[in-house]
C-alpha cells in the first residue's frame, strides 16, 4: 500500500501535460509522495526531454503523458509515447486523457504491453489508486482504465465465448483486463484467493486462452480475445 504515511520507493516521473493547473497539481501530488517529477507541456518537449535523459543514461522510471496536447490537440501524446517506446523499448508509459478511446488503447497495446497504462484523468481523484497504478506501470504491469475495458467488453458482446461465462466470471475477466492481479481481484470482489483462481481457470478454459503465470501476458491474452 502506498499513501502519504508510507511512501513507496521514489520514482523518477516525467510528466507531459498542457494544462498548467493539472500539471502543477499532479507534480505537487507526486512530489509530496516522494517522487521526483519533471514536467513538460507538449509531445515535442516530452520527446526532447527523454532524448536528453537518454544521453545522460538517466531514463525516467515512468512517463506520464496526456494524449491531447498542442499543437494539434488530437493524439500528440499518444504519438510521442509510441515513438519513445520504439526508441526505448520497455520504457514504462502511463497515458491519461479526459475520455477514453479503445482505438487509442489498441494502438498503445499493439506492441509490447509491458509497462503500459491508459487511464481516464478522473482516476487521479482516487489518489491512492492512481499512484498505485503508476507504480505498477513503472514495475512493468499493464493497467487499463475500467472504462476502456467495459467498452471493449461491450463491443465484444456478440462474442459467443463471452456468453458462456457466468456473471462472476465476466466480472473477473473485466478486472483481469484492467491488469489486476488475482490478489487484487480477490480483495476488490471480496472473494477468497482460491475462488478467484478457480474463476480465472474457468475463464481460460472457456475462452481457450493459453495459461500463463505472468500478469501482463495474461492481460494481453484477455485483450487479444476482446479484439484489441
Amino acid at each position: 500500500m502506498t499513501g502519504p504515511t508510507s511512501p513507496a520507493p521514489s520514482l523518477r516521473v516525467l510528466l507531459a501535460e498542457d494544462s498548467a493547473i493539472l500539471r502543477d497539481g499532479l507534480a505537487a501530488l507526486l512530489t509530496r509522495r516522494g517522487h521526483a517529477v519533471t514536467a513538460v507541456g507538449d509531445g515535442a518537449a516530452l520527446e526532447r526531454e527523454v532524448a536528453r535523459l537518454a544521453r545522460e543514461a538517466e531514463l525516467p522510471d515512468v512517463v506520464v503523458a496526456d494524449i491531447r496536447m498542442p499543437p494539434s490537440f488530437t493524439d500528440e501524446g499518444l504519438r510521442a509515447v509510441l515513438g519513445l517506446r520504439t526508441r526505448h523499448p520497455g520504457l514504462p508509459v502511463l497515458l491519461f486523457s479526459q475520455y477514453v478511446e479503445t482505438r487509442y488503447a489498441s494502438r498503445l497495446l499493439a506492441g509490447d504491453a509491458r509497462g503500459v497504462g491508459y487511464l481516464l484523468k478522473d482516476r487521479v481523484a482516487d489518489v491512492r489508486d492512481f499512484v498505485d497504478a503508476l507504480a505498477r506501470v513503472a514495475g512493468g504491469a499493464t493497467v487499463l482504465d475500467p472504462e476502456v475495458v467495459s467498452q471493449l467488453m461491450g463491443s465484444a458482446r456478440q462474442d459467443d465465448d463471452l456468453e458462456r461465462l457466468s456473471a462472476r466470471e465476466r466480472e473477473v475477466l473485466g478486472l483481469m483486463a484492467q491488469g489486476r492481479s488475482n490478489g487484487a481481484i480477490a480483495e476488490l470482489l471480496h472473494l477468497s484467493y482460491g475462488a478467484v483462481e478457480k474463476n480465472v481457470a474457468a475463464i481460460f478454459t472457456k475462452l481457450d486462452l493459453p495459461q500463463d503465470a505472468a500478469d501482463h501476458r495474461r492481460v494481453l491474452a484477455v485483450l487479444r480475445h476482446l479484439g484489441v
Binding site: P4, T5, I21, F73, A125, V127
Partner: protein, 463 residues
C-alpha cells in the same frame, strides 16, 4: 482599402456594359452600337436555321426514339446540349447587345441511372434554351428582313441621285423616254426636285433604321433575360445550398470551440479539484497532516470558484441570459461588461412592433459581441459605436452598424479546412443563413465599419 461585401447575387443580374450615353437621333446611324445590333441580328439569322433544326430534332426525333433506354439517354443529352446553344446566344448578346445575363446554375448529375435520365430530360435550363431557339427562328427572320430593308432603302434613296444615271432608258405612258425608278405608268424619279425627294426619303429611312434595329434587339434582350438566365428559384436553391453548408460549418466550428473551452478549462480544473480533495481525504483518513489537508481543501475551494466563473462565461457564450429580456437590454449589458467603452444606440422602433425572433436576436447579439471583441483584441480600438435601427420606412429589416476607431485592416478570411476560421467569416455565414447581408469596410488605419442587415419580415421575423 479593404472592402469585402458578401451578399446574394442579384437575381438574373442585368448589368449593361456601363451606361454609355444613348446616341441622338442624327448620329444614331453612325453609332457603333447600332451596327453591333444590326450585326447581332445578322448573326442570329445565320444561326437560326441550325438552332431551329436542333430544336425540332430535339422534340420530334427524341420523342420517337425515347421509347428505348438509349433513346431516353440521347433525348436527355439533347436537352442538356441546348444549354450550349444558350451559352452561345448569351455570349452573342453580351458582346453585341451589352446584355450580361448570368448563366443558369450548372447541371449537377444526381446519383442513380434513372434519376440521371430524369434530371436530364427535365432540365429546365435546357428546355428554356430550346424555347428561346424556337421563338428566335421566326423573330430573327422578321427582324433581319425588316431592319435590312430599312437600311437598304435608306442608303439606296440617299445615293439615288448618283446611280439613277446608270439605269436604262424606259418609255413612259406619256410617250417620252425616262431614266429612273418608275412609280405608276408615267411617274419617274428623274427631275431634280424628285431626286431631292428620293434623297430625303432615303435619309428618313436611314434615320429610322437604328430605332427599328433597337426595337427588334429589345425583343431579343427580353428573350435572353427571360429564357437564358437562371430562374429565381434555381438561384435561390443555389444560395440556400451554399448558406446551408456555411451554417453547418459554422455550427461545427462553434461546437468545437465550446468543446475545447470545456476540455481545457472547466474539465481540467474539476479534475484538479477532485485530485486535491482526494488527497485531502487521504490525509484526514490516515490521521495525517491536517494542516496540509486544510491547505488542499482551500486550493480546491478556490479552484471550484474559478471553474464556476469559467462555466458561467461559457454558458453566456452559448446563450446570454440578458437576451431573454430583448435585444436592447442584451446589448446594453454587453456594453457594460466590455473592457472598451461601447456606445450602444438601439432605435426603439426596432422593438416597437414586438421582439425579433430569437434566432435573429441571437445573431444580432453575437455579431455585435464578436465585433466588439475584435475591436478590442485586433484593432486596438479605444471605443466602439453600435447603432441598431430599422432600415427604410417599412421596417422590413434591421440594420446593425458597428464602428470602431481602431487601426483597420480587417478581412474576411475563408476557412482553410482545418476547422478553424476567422470569426468574421463565421459571422458572415451566420448572417447569410437568415438572408441577411454582411458588409465590411476596414481600410488600413481604420476605421472599421461593419454593416449587418437582417431581414425581419420573412419568414416571420417577429415573435
Amino acid at each position: 482599402m479593404t472592402t469585402m461585401t458578401v451578399d446574394r447575387p442579384a437575381a438574373g443580374s442585368v448589368t449593361g456594359r456601363a451606361s454609355r450615353p444613348a446616341p441622338n437621333f442624327l448620329t444614331a446611324p453612325l453609332a457603333g452600337r447600332t451596327w453591333r445590333e444590326q450585326g447581332y441580328l445578322a448573326l442570329v439569322l445565320l444561326l437560326a436555321p441550325f438552332a431551329f433544326t436542333y430544336t425540332i430534332f430535339a422534340v420530334s426525333f427524341t420523342a420517337s426514339i425515347a421509347v428505348t433506354v438509349v433513346g431516353l439517354f440521347v433525348a436527355g443529352a439533347v436537352v442538356l446540349g441546348a444549354r450550349g446553344w444558350g451559352a452561345a446566344y448569351r455570349g452573342l448578346a453580351r458582346e453585341l447587345l451589352d446584355v450580361d445575363v448570368v448563366a443558369p446554375t450548372a447541371y449537377v448529375r444526381p446519383r442513380g441511372f434513372w434519376r440521371t435520365i430524369g434530371s436530364m430530360l427535365g432540365d429546365a435550363a435546357g428546355w428554356r434554351a430550346l424555347l428561346f431557339m424556337f421563338v428566335a427562328f421566326p423573330l430573327s427572320i422578321l427582324s433581319f428582313v425588316v431592319s435590312i430593308t430599312f437600311l437598304a432603302t435608306g442608303l439606296g434613296g440617299l445615293t439615288y441621285w448618283f446611280w439613277y444615271q446608270f439605269l436604262p432608258m424606259q418609255l413612259g405612258s406619256d410617250g417620252e423616254l425616262h431614266r429612273g425608278a418608275q412609280f405608276g405608268p408615267s411617274y419617274f424619279l428623274d427631275t431634280p426636285p424628285r431626286l431631292a425627294l428620293a434623297a430625303l426619303v432615303g435619309l428618313l429611312f436611314v434615320l429610322c433604321w437604328p430605332w427599328i434595329t433597337r426595337m427588334f434587339t429589345m425583343l431579343f434582350r427580353a428573350l435572353t433575360h427571360g429564357l437564358l438566365s437562371p430562374t429565381r428559384a434555381s438561384l435561390r436553391v443555389a444560395e440556400l445550398e451554399r448558406s446551408r453548408t456555411g451554417t453547418v460549418d459554422d455550427a461545427d466550428a462553434r461546437l468545437r470551440s465550446i468543446e475545447r473551452d470545456l476540455h481545457d478549462g472547466t474539465q481540467a480544473r474539476l479534475v484538479a479539484v477532485a485530485m486535491q480533495l482526494g488527497e485531502a481525504r487521504e490525509h484526514l483518513a490516515d490521521g495525517g497532516d491536517v494542516e496540509q489537508a486544510a491547505e488542499l481543501v482551500d486550493t480546491a475551494h478556490s479552484s471550484t470558484k474559478e471553474a464556476l466563473v469559467e462555466l458561467r462565461e461559457l454558458a453566456r457564450g452559448i446563450h446570454p441570459p440578458a437576451l431573454d429580456s430583448g435585444l436592447t437590454v442584451a446589448l446594453e449589458t454587453l456594453a457594460a461588461r466590455s473592457a472598451l467603452p461601447v456606445n450602444v444606440d438601439v432605435d426603439p422602433a426596432v422593438e416597437a412592433d414586438g421582439r425579433l425572433v430569437p434566432a435573429l436576436e441571437s445573431i444580432a447579439y453575437f455579431s455585435v459581441a464578436e465585433l466588439v471583441t475584435n475591436a478590442a483584441k485586433h484593432a486596438r480600438a479605444t471605443g466602439v459605436y453600435v447603432l441598431v435601427e430599422p432600415l427604410g420606412d417599412t421596417a422590413g429589416s434591421v440594420r446593425i452598424r458597428v464602428r470602431d476607431d481602431g487601426r483597420g485592416g480587417a478581412a474576411v478570411v475563408q476557412p482553410d479546412g482545418s476547422g478553424l476560421r476567422s470569426g468574421l467569416a463565421g459571422l458572415a455565414e451566420r448572417v447569410r443563413s437568415v438572408d441577411g447581408t454582411f458588409d465590411l469596410s476596414s481600410p488600413i488605419g481604420g476605421p472599421t465599419v461593419v454593416t449587418v442587415i437582417l431581414p425581419t419580415t420573412s419568414p416571420s421575423g417577429r415573435a
